[in-house]
Symmetry: C2
Subunit: 605 residues, 2 copies
């Protein structure tokens, strides 16, 4: 039944031969790989204003300079990654680049940061997507956690089915969103010329204002840095572009960075012009669209587009996370279950793990984008920095044409992103960054523990100097409770596998035991029956004691214990039988040289 | 570790030889077997007043006539049971008497009613005991559910240890409680003469009054009938008395009925004199003791005695329920697990079941005595009635001296209790009786289902006309994923149990498979290796298909599938390995003629 449900939800299995990879032109590629990066404009400008607001309305004038700083950072990081794309046309994720050039530890740190980043992208994007909906329909606001969980479940099912063939279809929403943003920013700029200048915004008064310190400005800047998340996606997937792959990917990256920068600046500038104040219950983009386009269907279209691109952004993680997890599992840093493709040619276990973790975050943070964001930027900048540093090492090793020029670009990128990482870590530590700062080392430690386990496993299983155990006249013990079809069948099996068979029975009820002893010669004349005393009426203890004694006396490597079991026809009938066999098997599992065999006897009704 | 915890809580195991039974004289026996019946005065008089109150203060004058009716009922039922005691000196519980004289179905119905009654006695007594404490310390009232759960847990632990040797110690609290009741009623009667007559009590106004109909009077009477619960305890345990058993038990029963009747009448009368009004938060006894004895230490002693006797009443069910469950399990109406004595010579599973069910009731009804009581009386009177009817049939069969006289007494008892059962069922149906009226037939149906299962099991396992399966050159299949110590060990085992060994491997990764095929001849030259294709990358499906094909070709009764498994040294390492072996074993369990064997290879670290 479970199997049927799986087939309905996930579809029929697919053969390995069905795997195919389509190459993308720049236009659809931009849409598919950049939804993550571009969608961050849905929350990043708002974050800057939330922190400046703490120092009062006047402080909001800092939002445009900060937006400019973030836009500069985008340019710098994009340039660095442009170089990575050309250096790693086979795909240069931060894990690969850092591991190859800097060594295992930095690589694994980058991998851990990326995994954390993917989980947070899903949680943040889904939370922000739900916020776009609840801004338009406030009645849904109390159900936001459930809506978020629903979205993640939907994404899991879609991705467990696999969405290969729909690549081009996914391009539409991104361009729809870009179109909406162009309309909002364009109409907004036109209106801003004619509208009377708004006074300083009326802030909701809750608590005294904090002074506008450098720390607060840096904190607002750190908050804005979430705009850079997802910028590395193109570099991971160079192979998905039509040839010449590197060139096409590079151009797409530049387009993306430009669009991202322009949208980010435009939205920040307009928020300032219209004196928008972020508040719980309605997003900044929703406020802006409402002012610029009115309450009508155009407004609803903007909100729908925002929701859809954010879901797409979450969806890209369903490619990235399972693939990175599989890469880490191949290198033995993660359990092997994450390594293999499921029956729909997707990394099913990775998809389920990602969904589970992001649902956990959505529930724990009550689907609040603003509460989730402080966890976000630190890990992303850590992986940026490690990846750029890896590139510097690579230039220094290869020393091609203009290598000093290239190395300098990446060095500047590495240093700036490292500084930003430090700023994010310090200024947002108390907001929630601390969790990520703790989780990444724990993950790295976990990776190495897993790797060490697989390594010692390999050594322990190695055949060097190993000779298979001698089984000799290997003893078989049949545990008997009475004499019936199941027991007679088990005795026949025992005699088939060894000439050295003993039957044992535990004396719980003297009447039943003596009846058994009387019937025994008729059904098993050649098998000795040993009656074990059990003063405390336990079955397990006397059996284990007998087997331990037996082990001392014999020289073979294994003792086999046969347990006659009947398999009931209906599930509830299992409850009616003593779970003794299960107990004995569990106890024997932890003793060396014991093999427990259940001989099933199937009941008809 | 779990084992050590069990030993600390429950104590060391005891041998079967340690079982001993002490015979009791009348004085301790009264205390031990009658705590259940006597303790019901802690809530029964209150219940009558709660219902009369609905019709206003004037209606409370009905409480003494109703109490007289209940006392008459007590006399009648006690007389009937006195005859049962003499007829069944070996112990005549309702299940035994009804089954022996009326047939299986009435017996089983009486058994089901009794089981329900025991569970309710624990829940009601514990709830009422906690109410005695929270009346004295209202600050504990919000924690009443947890206090109740704590009490039940305490009773379970005590009973899992076994409390045989403390029989006489348990007599003290009952006499302490009786002493307290004598003081309260005695001092109360003296004071009532001198105190000015109280006016009609001020009722808490909530909702309009209902008219004082016959139905309401009957409802109040039904509520008061809970005083009769536990009256059958002496008849169940005649064998525990010193000889002459029947005579001593009969006298004890008469004493108990007299004391119960007098206390019940006294408390009802005094409640009327002092115009007491039941209300949530303080019991009637607590109010009475406070008025009669003042707020001092004497009052606290009464509350403590009430609490303790109610716990004792609950405790008696820990003897009755597991013993009856064991009796039903011996007759195959309940799972066999309930039949056997645990390692402390008590029916451990029955004790755990009783505790689980009563905790469920306490939580579901929020530890509210008044809400639990409507469920109580119906089942008790059903078992009374069946047991008396059984006695009538018995007199008619045996026809001894004065048999018509005896039969008439029991007939009157049976008819009166049947009428009371009907009144209780109808008047308290909406209050909660309906639950019991539904649960008893469901239980009876369950009993017969279980019995049919054991019966068909016996037939299916019968050796009549059975010949053990021929195993021939029985085929053994070893599932192989690579070549390592675990696999080589498993191959050695396979060769030891059969000359007909095949190895199979599922081709998931062509590189690994071809490496395996190259290494194979070196380590297993005599065993053919079959490579199974798996287009959908599943291990389970190709293996099952191969085995199904094999089954068609061979003629032996069994195919053995050997799974090399390594047993990790640490628990968390289990998470790192594919649970394929477990899946395969689960799938094979439901196919006939397949034996799955795990050959463990123990890892050191």
């Amino acid at each position: 039944m479970l199997h049927a449900l799986k087939r309905v939800l996930v579809g029929s299995p697919m053969t390995t031969a069905q795997a195919r990879y389509e190459r993308l032109a720049k236009i659809p590629a931009l849409a598919i790989f950049c939804s993550d990066a571009l969608s961050s404009v849905a929350y990043a400008p708002e974050e800057i204003r939330i922190f400046l607001m703490l120092a009062g309305a006047a402080a909001l004038s800092w939002s445009v300079p900060i937006a400019l700083a973030v836009a500069t950072l985008i340019t710098l990081v994009a340039t660095s990654y442009w170089q990575t794309i050309h250096a790693y046309p086979a795909g240069g994720g931060a894990y690969t680049v850092a591991r190859e050039n800097l060594g295992v530890l930095p690589g694994v740190i980058a991998g851990a940061s990326l995994l954390v980043g993917y989980v947070l992208t899903v949680a943040v994007s889904v939370a922000a997507g739900v916020a776009a909906v609840t801004s338009a329909f406030p009645v849904l606001y109390p159900s936001r956690v459930w809506l978020g969980v629903l979205c993640v479940t939907f994404l899991s099912v879609v991705n467990l089915r696999g969405i290969r063939e729909t690549g081009r279809v996914l391009a539409l929403p991104t361009y729809w969103f870009l179109g909406c943003m162009v309309i909002v920013v364009g109409v907004g700029l036109v209106r801003s010329g004619t509208a009377p200048p708004a006074g300083p915004p009326a802030l909701p008064v809750d608590g005294p204002l904090v002074p506008l310190t450098t720390f607060l400005v840096l904190r607002a800047f750190s908050a804005g840095c979430v705009a850079l998340t997802g910028i590395e996606a193109v570099a991971n997937c160079v192979q998905a572009f039509k040839p010449p792959e590197a060139r096409n990917a590079g151009i797409t990256l530049i387009w993306m960075a430009s669009i991202l920068g322009v949208m980010f600046l435009g939205l920040s500038f307009l928020s300032d012009i219209f004196s928008l104040v972020p508040h719980e219950g309605e997003t900044l983009i929703s406020q802006l669209a409402r002012i610029v386009l009115g309450q009508g269907s155009l407004y609803l279209m903007v909100q729908a587009a925002t929701m859809v691109i954010l879901l797409l952004a979450a969806n890209t993680c369903y490619a990235g996370f399972p693939m990175l997890a599989s890469l880490l599992a191949k290198d033995r840093f993660l359990p092997r279950q994450l390594m293999n493709l499921g029956d729909r040619l997707v990394y099913s276990n990775g998809i389920l793990l990602l969904s589970g973790l992001s649902i956990f975050l959505l529930v724990a943070f009550q689907g609040d984008t603003h509460a989730l964001l402080p966890l976000y930027a630190f890990g992303v900048f850590l992986s940026f920095s490690l990846s750029q540093l890896g590139m510097v090492r690579r230039w220094a090793k290869i020393r091609g044409r203009h290598w000093i020029h290239h190395a300098t670009v990446n060095m500047v990128g590495a240093m700036v992103t490292a500084v930003v990482m430090g700023v994010v870590g310090v200024t947002r530590f108390a907001d929630g960054s601390w969790m990520v700062i703790f989780v990444i080392p724990i993950l790295v430690l976990g990776f190495f523990t897993v790797q060490r386990h697989y390594e010692t496993l390999r050594q322990q299983l190695s055949l060097d100097g190993f000779s298979p155990p001698k089984l000799g006249r290997h003893p078989v013990v049949v545990l008997v409770g009475g004499i019936h079809r199941g027991v007679v069948t088990a005795l026949a099996y025992a005699k088939a596998i060894s000439p050295n068979v003993t039957a044992i029975t535990v004396d719980l009820d003297p009447t039943a035991t003596s009846r058994l002893c009387m019937q025994w010669p008729e059904w098993a004349p050649n098998v000795p029956l040993v009656v074990l005393e059990s003063p405390y009426r336990s079955i397990l203890q006397p059996v284990l004691r007998y087997i331990d004694q037996m082990e001392k006396q014999q020289d073979g490597a294994y003792i086999t214990i046969i347990l006659p079991e009947f398999v009931p026809a209906k599930w509830w009938q299992h409850l009616l039988h003593n779970q003794t066999a299960l107990l004995i098997k569990a106890a024997l599992l932890f003793r060396r040289g014991k093999v427990a065999i259940s001989i099933p006897y199937h009941l008809e009704q």
